[in-house]
């Protein structure tokens, strides 16, 4: 504690602004450490909230104290104002990019990958043929494929869906293929002795054991889908969409609006990820990794 005060005083001799930032940081740190140790009620929620608020406060203070130009880094308050003032625009961009581009591509890409994994699982021939093709597609850089797909599928959402499908296909496929191998031979033998057919074994044994892998794939792909849909808009789009908006607002140096779009993307990404994590928790409650939660 004494060391922290000493550090703040020392820095204050050099630059009082840096000292103020340091003091806020150390103060918030001490508060969080105390809450964690003293097991304050609700600390599990409070600690991350305090951490997030500290970061925002430091950002706001730093931008104001050091007079950072708004075209380099706008303050969180300016971003919040831009967000509030442009909700209709942010909403149509959200609909265009997230709902009509990323989500459709996510569902399509992950769905196709899952079906492909089932097919690969049944046929050694496909396993040798499809996996390398999936790998190949995953290795294509988006800056190369996006302009081509825009030329093929037009400027609208369909080309963004195609980009997203190409991006999420492989991570989902690899996870699903691995998941299908998860059940033990002895478990499958047991199903066999019950005279279960392929579909019954699939539904009752192999899909449940594959769930942790499927959700891994779905979670990884949830963020990939957003990145794909937004970046693909850089290479051609109608005059609506998050990627389009980011590009033109950077052009006119309205960085607060760019950050507002980034906020929307972050919220949408966290939301989709959280939804997947929640579903995983519900569907794979039996898995060892979730048992400790109920202690």
């Amino acid at each position: 504690m004494g060391g922290a005060v000493l550090a703040v005083v020392l820095v204050a001799i050099l630059d009082w602004r840096a000292a103020l930032l340091l003091a806020v940081w150390l103060g918030a740190w001490a508060l969080n450490a105390w809450m964690a140790q003293a097991s304050v009620a609700g600390a599990r929620i409070l600690v991350p909230v305090v951490f997030g608020l500290t970061l925002l406060t430091l950002w706001e203070l730093a931008v104001r104290l050091f007079e950072v130009s708004p075209v380099i880094l706008p303050a969180p308050s300016a971003i919040a104002l831009a967000f509030a003032a442009n909700i209709p625009t942010l909403w149509v961009d959200f609909v265009q990019t997230i709902l009509r581009g990323a989500l459709v591509g996510y569902v399509l890409g992950c769905g196709i990958a899952f079906l492909a994994a089932l097919a690969i699982d049944r046929s050694a021939f496909l396993q040798k043929g499809l996996l390398p093709v999936g790998n190949f597609i995953a290795a294509l850089p988006i800056v190369g494929t996006a302009p081509i797909l825009v030329m093929w599928y037009g400027f609208g959402p369909s080309s963004k869906v195609a980009v997203v499908v190409a991006m999420v296909f492989f991570p989902m496929l690899v996870n699903a293929v691995q998941g299908m191998k998860e059940s033990d031979a002895i478990q499958r033998d047991l199903m066999h002795t019950y005279a279960a057919n392929y579909w019954q074994t699939l539904l009752k044994l192999r899909l449940p054991t594959a769930m942790p892998f499927l959700f891994n794939g779905l979670k990884i792909c949830s963020t990939l889908a957003l990145i794909g849909a937004i970046v693909a808009e850089f290479f051609g789009s109608p005059t609506v969409g998050m990627g389009f908006r980011i590009k033109i607002e950077v052009g006119r140096l309205a960085m607060d609006m760019v950050w507002a779009e980034i906020t929307v993307a972050a919220l949408a990404g966290s939301g989709l990820y959280g939804l997947m994590a929640l579903m995983e928790r519900q569907l794979t409650f039996w898995h060892p990794s979730h048992r400790s939660v109920r202690n």
């Binding site: 130009s69 708004p70 075209v71 380099i72 302009p147 825009v150 030329m151 037009g154 400027f155 808009e233 850089f234 290479f235 051609g236 789009s237 109608p238 005059t239 389009f244 590009k247 033109i248 950077v250 052009g251 006119r252 140096l253 309205a254 960085m255």
Partner: protein, 331 residues
């Protein structure tokens, strides 16, 4: 080393202008696009030693699709930038106080190129058609023009459907768009190079319809211009650059070859750069670097007439200065 010796010699020669510490003053110039003949004047001034004669060490920084020159300027990555006036004024309104210190391009090279068989014979026919444009601050002149013609850009039968194109002319060639924004010195020739003959196309030059806005100008940060040393450095930079432009306009072929030598990407072709230099020479012809206030006013009026979503919401104050060009032209 060679540069240093040269500039030291030039420094001695230039006598009174020499700086106290004996080093050549540095100028970092941010271009608004990749190395090409659009910037020939600066490369010529560098190659022919005009900058050295002014005791300047000039670093020319090429731009690209994701580089916004105003942002580079704001971040301290450059002392001056080349920028189109609409985009620079928009940046100014958004809190980056940039000031036009010289205007080498006196005419606009922007035009709309349409398929002749699309039935478009004049700009008013654009309603109901699809237009592809690049966005990154370059779309403002088009938006203002459509607003003046009372044509919406939200699509439909009586509006233009606007597409945001990447950085090639594919949308036109693929007929995803009936018209596309082109520069007289660049994209138009990409269309021609793709095997299209000029009589298959109709073009509308912004210059001919009185809706042109000023293009490549030299911009610096307002706060720097309070420093007399900076103003002097800029005056020497502008003077040498305009000498470069004059030489480039007189020797377009040689200028294009100099540009090719400086193209580190090796992406530019000789034929394209020669043609570009020829067209660019027409845009700088008759200018001495001094901003024409009537053209400035026309640009501002055009931008303010941007309809529901004007590029700038108020006439800018102090967005240009003659201080630098007055000093540069005083000799």
């Amino acid at each position: 080393m060679k540069h240093l010796t040269l500039s030291a010699a030039a420094l001695l020669a230039s006598g009174g202008m020499a700086l106290a510490d004996g080093h050549a003053a540095e100028v970092n110039l941010q271009l608004q696009w990749v190395t090409q003949s659009q910037f020939a004047g600066y490369y010529v001034a560098l190659e022919n030693g005009y900058y050295d004669e002014e005791a300047l060490t000039v670093n020319i920084i090429p731009g690209g699709p994701d580089i916004a020159p105003p942002q580079v300027l704001a971040g301290g990555g450059a002392d001056v930038m080349l920028n189109w006036m609409p985009s620079a004024l928009a940046a100014r309104e958004n809190g980056l106080p940039v000031v036009n210190i010289a205007q080498p391009f006196v005419r606009s090279g922007l035009m709309l190129t349409c398929w002749a068989d699309s039935g478009i014979t004049e700009p008013a026919d654009l309603a109901g058609h699809t237009v592809a444009h690049w966005f990154f601050g370059n779309e403002y002149p088009f938006l203002s023009w459509m607003s003046q013609l009372d044509i919406g850009v939200e699509g439909g039968d009586d509006g233009v459907t606007l597409l945001q194109a990447g950085f090639n002319v594919d949308p036109l060639l693929q007929r995803q768009a009936d018209c596309m924004s082109t520069m007289t010195y660049n994209e138009y020739w990409q269309v021609i190079d793709a095997g299209v003959t000029p009589d298959e196309l109709v073009t509308f030059r912004y210059e001919d319809y009185g809706v042109s806005t000023l293009e490549d100008g030299i911009w610096a940060l307002e706060e720097n211009l309070e420093d007399p040393e900076f103003v002097d450095r800029m005056a020497r930079f502008v003077r040498a650059s305009m000498r470069g432009w004059a030489w480039a306009a007189e020797n377009p072929d040689d200028a294009a070859m100099i540009v090719l030598d400086y193209d580190e990407t090796g992406a530019q072709t000789e034929e394209h750069q020669l043609r570009m230099m020829g067209e660019v020479a027409l845009l700088v012809e008759g200018g001495d670097g001094r901003l024409d206030e009537a053209a400035y006013q026309r640009t501002v009026d055009t931008l303010l007439a941007g309809g529901s979503d004007p590029v700038i919401s108020a006439a800018p104050e102090g967005a240009f200065t003659h201080v630098v060009t007055d000093a540069a032209l005083a000799e």
